[in-house]
């Protein structure tokens, strides 16, 4: 009884401290942001040695003692997985693209790297801004490809307007971000609630059907399962300015709301694509359910998630601090370290049931945090 009380008070302190740390990281991040864009743009001049700003999105480069411009630099942005990707394009007076630079990106770095390695930018160099840019998507990084091409088009637009009086982007119809995958996420979540509530004899089979569908659709097909970076995007409010893919945010929001409303987590056992992969591997091997009970093993993932979220808020780039093996598992995209992590998770899954879920998965700390605070707030209201 005494031990339970002590544990509860420790959790209360940790809960308050973590909220304060998140707010402090957010504040520290806002004081850190400096307007260094014009300094970066100056480095993109080719013929000119001086830079004049015409408006927010257009600069002209000129040579000393010569008033007429020798080139133009346009700025544009596109919406990627984690937020805006900002691009600058240097264009000659004839309208040829001479230089393309990615100034900043809130996408997961490994996805952006994949797009850059596909030579997408090099293919556009030398093209005239009057012609239409036909760009093939990069398999596995479609959202990042779309963000980059959209940003390049938008960067070329003010130059096109200045040189030829053509405003192409405004004439193009903006496409809706709400896709069939978002509807599928909502439908699958509703079905997961039903599967968890039913007392049907075939409940286990329904559960397996849900897991396999989710693994195929949200895992291998779209890689849109949520992670610590999605949690960062949600709490930072980056989604308010637009995202290339809302599916993971929708899934996460529904999971959080359902835990708040019912104290139950239907995602891990019925919907998680990575959980499904581990379950499939468990079927192949001879596995047993094992848990590490010491307090250190419980508190370390909580600290890890808190640090990740704080870093995401401080750098205003939550997608950069994703540490799960999901990207490698479902798209072979990620750092070498995450590749090793995925490999050892796959091997361990053949012997121990769901090793990632029982150790470092950020879903457990998040669920614990919501459940504890829900209970705490409920007890405060009961006392009153």
């Amino acid at each position: 009884m005494y031990s339970k009380k002590r544990s509860d008070s420790r959790k209360k302190v940790a809960s308050i401290v973590s909220v304060i740390l998140l707010l402090l990281s957010w504040y520290a991040g806002s004081t850190r942001i400096t307007d260094n864009q014009s300094g970066m743009v100056e480095q993109l001049l080719i013929k000119g040695d001086g830079l004049n700003q015409i408006d927010d999105r257009l600069y002209e480069g000129s040579i000393a003692n010569n008033l007429s411009p020798v080139e133009y630099i346009g700025l544009g942005s596109g919406i990627g997985y984690g937020g805006m990707t900002e691009v600058a394009v240097t264009v000659s007076l004839l309208g040829d693209i001479q230089r393309i630079a990615v100034l900043s990106s809130k996408d997961t770095s490994s996805y952006l790297d994949k797009v850059i390695q596909s030579n997408l930018m090099e293919k556009l160099l030398g093209q005239n801004i009057k012609s239409s840019f036909d760009i093939d998507g990069v398999s596995g990084a479609t959202v990042s490809t779309n963000a980059l091409t959209e940003a390049i088009k938008r960067a070329a637009d003010p130059v096109s307007m200045e040189l030829f009086g053509i405003n192409r982007v405004e004439n193009e119809k903006s496409s809706s971000h709400f896709r069939w995958l978002d509807l599928m996420a909502i439908a699958m979540f509703m079905m997961a609630i039903l599967v968890n509530k039913t007392r049907h004899q075939q409940k286990s089979m329904f559960n397996w059907a849900m897991l396999l569908t989710s693994m195929c659709v949200f895992g291998f097909y779209s890689s849109s399962l949520f992670s610590s970076s999605t949690m960062g995007i949600l709490i930072s409010g980056a989604w308010l300015s637009g995202l290339g893919n809302y599916t993971s945010i929708i899934l996460l929001s529904m999971v959080i709301l359902y835990i708040i409303a019912t104290n139950k987590n239907v995602y891990c056992n019925t919907l998680c694509p990575f959980g499904a992969t581990q379950e499939c591997l468990a079927k192949l091997g001879n596995t047993k359910t094992i848990s590490l009970t010491s307090g250190v093993f419980e508190w370390f993932p909580r600290g890890l998630l808190l640090v990740t979220l704080c870093l995401g808020l401080y750098y205003r780039n939550p997608a950069s601090f994703s540490y799960e093996p999901f990207g490698i598992m479902f798209g072979m995209i990620g750092s070498m370290y995450l590749f090793v992590l995925t490999a050892i998770t796959v091997v361990t899954s053949l012997v121990v049931k769901r090793p990632w879920c029982r150790t470092l998965c950020p879903m457990n700390p998040m669920t614990d945090f919501i459940r504890f605070n829900r209970q705490w707030i409920k007890s405060i209201f009961k006392k009153r």
């Binding site: 040829d96 393309i100 900043s104 047993k288 590490l292 540490y323 370290y337 090793p355």
Partner: protein, 72 residues
């Protein structure tokens, strides 16, 4: 035995994740300090392929105009 394996998995995973996050912080800090774009692609006059041919024809046109101006 399985518990030991899970323990080893936990320790190794935690180390990998910490190194990964440390490298990310280091990369972002250095990037901010350098104040340079993430990536720059520049058109090269020596490039081969169809783009280079388009570029060459424009260069020729520019050169011809300049030549005409000079010889007037």
């Amino acid at each position: 035995m399985r518990k030991k394996l899970l323990f080893v998995f936990y320790i190794v995973s935690a180390m990998i994740v910490c190194v990964h996050l440390g490298l990310r912080v280091n990369y972002l800090t250095q990037l901010e300090a350098s104040n340079t774009p993430l990536f720059v692609a520049t058109y090269s006059d020596n490039a081969t392929g169809p783009q280079a041919r388009v570029k060459d024809s424009i260069n020729y046109k520019e050169w011809a105009e300049k030549y005409e101006d000079q010889t007037k």
